[in-house]
């Protein structure tokens, strides 16, 4: 009865990779933005860029999942706020609530900044909503409780990033997924890609000389996170070398694939590592190397999730 069949799955494909990628990226973008605004330097423009793009990423992530559901109307059962209490062992139930409340607190944190911007007030419908008394009351409330709202958003953001890994970890048959390293790897990757994205915002979206110190800090944090990701991946490599046939076969799929080796490990991690290292230690004369590094990190973040989904090997005893 011990003859085994090994196979990868075709149930969760690119769309779940996109769900995990945009979910982690959006959540970490919001968390970093608010922590920066609360504890480094008040930066309304960064808040607007970070909050709005973060919420858009979370919405995109949720939309990708929703479009692939079999029975769309039944999604109501996971949207009800008590879903994670009723089904506490389901990480999708937790993750859905994290994402919803992340978007709510994220928009509330950005609301006072939005009301101060003429550009937002001129947008049809949104502008009218922002001018209402309720929006004014909410904006004052959020200003008074700024740090509380910011931390509520941040906690949900961290929860979302960790959730993306916990979701894969909850599938016991696949050694590559069912281990404590996955939530750690996906959380580190989510924050690394978010720093990369925010560096793009700081360089391209709102270039400002006053942000030079902030850009330097972001580059340093991204460098540390890329280093941590490389270290975690090394432990994965070591873990999958032996111990289970499922893990070993996953390793063979990953480490014999040029997309993983060159695309993700090389271009997505090692090249940005050295670009950021030079930037942090000696600096660059222009922002282009950092922009290139950030784009590569963002690409690598998606490739990581895509390859993790495709390389999960099931072992069937028949």
């Amino acid at each position: 009865m011990e003859t085994m069949t090994y196979s990868t799955q075709h149930i969760w494909t690119w769309w779940i990779a996109a769900y995990l990628y945009f979910g982690g990226l959006g959540a970490a973008t919001l968390s970093i933005t608010f922590l920066t605004d609360m504890y480094c330097r008040s930066n309304p423009r960064l808040v607007l860029w970070g909050a709005i793009s973060g919420v858009v990423m979370l919405a995109l992530s949720s939309l990708v999942l929703f479009l692939h559901l079999l029975h769309h109307a039944a999604v109501i059962w996971v949207l009800i706020p008590a879903a994670f209490i009723l089904h506490p062992t389901s990480w999708i139930a937790w993750g859905t609530q994290f994402i919803i409340w992340m978007m709510v607190w994220g928009l509330l944190y950005a609301l006072p900044c939005m009301r101060e911007r003429e550009g937002f007030l001129r947008i049809p419908i949104l502008g009218s909503l922002l001018k209402t008394g309720l929006a004014g009351w909410l904006a004052n409330f959020c200003m008074r409780w700024r740090r509380t709202v910011g931390w509520l958003a941040t906690i949900n953001g961290i929860g979302t990033a960790v959730y993306t890994g916990l979701l894969l970890q909850s599938f016991p048959a696949v050694a590559l997924w069912h281990n404590p390293g996955v939530p750690l790897l996906f959380t580190v990757s989510a924050f690394s890609t978010a720093f990369a994205y925010l560096l793009l915002v700081l360089y391209l979206g709102q270039p400002n000389e006053d942000d030079a110190m902030l850009r330097h800090r972001y580059e340093l944090f991204d460098l540390i996170l890329i280093s941590a990701e490389l270290l975690i991946l090394f432990t994965f490599f070591n873990y999958t070398l032996s111990g289970s046939e499922s893990g070993h076969r996953s390793a063979q799929l990953l480490w014999h694939d040029m997309g993983w080796l060159v695309g993700f490990m090389g271009l997505g991690l090692i090249v940005p590592f050295f670009l950021n290292l030079k930037g942090v230690v000696k600096g660059w004369s222009s922002g282009m190397p950092t922009i290139a590094a950030s784009l590569l990190v963002l690409m690598g973040g998606y490739l990581l999730r895509q390859y993790f989904m495709t390389a999960g090997v099931y072992a069937y005893p028949w």
Partner: protein
């Protein structure tokens, strides 16, 4: 208490696939896309003159610690007190996390398209499925509740499938399992499956 289980004897399965046909008719499975609640895996083992053919019936293992249930975000997957793992199609949104979590490849999708196909295949008035959802074996819970055996067990010509109550010490299935003659699949995963197999080699030995 009752805890239902199935024992499958790999020595007596002849690969007639009558279990698949009986199950398909009983539970209206989407056979047009080769999806079944129970399936007989047919494989040649080995490459020498010692090679032999293995027929391996598969189905939901109705685990006592089912990973498909713990990952379900809507509560659509639930377990009855008698151990049978069920799906409530009305609550299933079809995220497929249960299929990813199942180590036994026991779940498949039933889509809107399958409902349309089902109307043609099983008849508009006869079709039970109203909404799309994930689907899997239920040990024919509707038959079991009436004191009958699952369709696959009742139809098995080789008596390869036996169905019984593990909590009844006089039940032959309980005795087979307690005696160690039948073993679950991948017990190391901690899923505590309630489908047991009598190894083909033991009979040969």
């Amino acid at each position: 208490m009752t805890r239902y289980a199935m024992v499958i004897d790999l020595n007596t399965c002849v690969g007639c696939n009558a279990c698949m046909a009986a199950c398909a008719m009983e539970n209206q499975t989407p056979v047009w896309k080769d999806k079944w609640r129970t399936y007989v895996h047919d494989e040649e083992i080995g490459h020498t003159d010692q090679a032999h053919r293995r027929l391996f019936p598969r189905l939901c293992n109705h685990c006592s610690n089912p990973p498909c249930l713990t990952v379900c975000p809507t509560g659509a997957t639930y377990q009855r007190p008698d151990g049978i793992v069920m799906i409530n199609p009305e609550h299933c949104m079809g995220c497929r996390a249960c299929a990813m979590a199942c180590p036994y490849d026991a779940r498949y999708e039933a889509t809107y398209n399958d409902i349309d196909e089902g109307r043609t295949f099983y008849g508009d008035e006869e079709l039970q499925r109203q909404v799309p959802s994930m689907d899997k074996c239920t040990f024919c819970a509707h038959r079991v509740d009436k004191g009958r055996k699952p369709a696959c067990v009742e139809t098995c010509v080789g008596s390869a499938r036996q169905f019984g109550d593990l909590d009844d010490p006089n039940d032959p299935v309980a005795q087979l399992v307690a005696g160690g003659g039948a073993r679950p699949l991948m017990a190391y995963l901690g899923t505590h499956p309630n489908v047991y197999y009598i190894d083909e080699n033991k009979r040969r030995g």
